[in-house]
Symmetry: C2
Subunit: 198 residues, 2 copies
Amino acid sequence: MADVNFNKQSHPGAGAGSSAVGDRARGDTPRSSSDVPYDLIELLFFAYRDFTSDPDDVLAEFGFGRAHHRVLHFVDRNPGMMVTDLLGILKITKQSLGRVLKQLVDQGYIEQRPGASDRRQRLLHTTAKGHGLALQLARLQTERLDRAILGLPDDAADTVRRFLLQMIDPETRDEVAQLIRKDTAAGGPASIKALDQT
Amino acid sequence: MADVNFNKQSHPGAGAGSSAVGDRARGDTPRSSSDVPYDLIELLFFAYRDFTSDPDDVLAEFGFGRAHHRVLHFVDRNPGMMVTDLLGILKITKQSLGRVLKQLVDQGYIEQRPGASDRRQRLLHTTAKGHGLALQLARLQTERLDRAILGLPDDAADTVRRFLLQMIDPETRDEVAQLIRKDTAAGGPASIKALDQT
DNA sequence: AAATTTACGTCAGCCATATTGACATATTTC
DNA sequence: GAAATATGTCAATATGGCTGACGTAAATTT
């Protein structure tokens, strides 16, 4: 029954009743499978890993990592945002942000402009170069998302949106919804705004 | 328009036309928003982060990290699995695995038993202690998943499963489906097996 | 006007997790 | 007997987090 075999072929000389994997039949731990949705848990793990892998590959060519992607993405999506806001979104320390942000600025992907009304601020913007890269990465993820929704019922995308939104901590859910809304709100019928009620 | 404000209040003395954030109105980069589902992209980011945060907190108390969780989880779910299989699932190097696995073994969460038919193998099993921890962590994630599905249509869980499965690289999708199936297959009407067709 | 808070930035060190490459050992398969 | 497989280990390196401590400029409060 239970066989893993994530790699090559099965364990060939499996003469005995149960070979390498899966001696659950021989009375292992009773597996209190209870009501845990292991499939969802594992699907999330694999889906997210592959989801990030496309951008990761591209970024590696630039000498960047996933951390750079996050920064680039949110700055590109929220031009003129404050450093503090970015820290709040990413939930990392300013020291951690500082490193990657500096590289992105030094290499001309992100620009900092002093705030007009508050000159302490260094408002963040992507340059044309930075926007281009951000868009390239977003497109990779778009392709994967589009493929994932193919063949699913019409309301699937909406269901997934609701599901994901409700996976977020209730305390920050509204903030996230607001942050995300932006360019989406005006758009199609699947506005996140409609989800706030739940 | 576009305002971030993930943290505190708005930028108070916003006298001028557009203050700190959101000078898109002043003609920033034209935002080729095109057809990119930014909301989904960002929801995935936030949802996954919060999803992993519950276990992370518990693991920290044990001096463990997310890496330990992954190992513990898959070993618990696939008792008797080979190290090679685990490497294939996690897609990390044996050196990386070695470190965390050793800690889990040394501290009595995981047991290694020589393979019956192939004595080179060190088949992995969780101990009672290890199973307990694995279950505790899984339950935390279950709570969140249950909350996320609350209020969604009856077929939502199934839709989400299909979506996540199709987010996975086509090349490995079947293997993942097989791996996941296990205890799920026999269960409810929402068997992953049914998704393989797509 | 002085005191405090806020928005940054930076230096310095530590930790977890992942990588590559090289080797070693036991066992199984061809 | 040779080759492939399963596993482990030593050593060096990179990334991306963290804490703690300071420092400076500008805004807000008192």
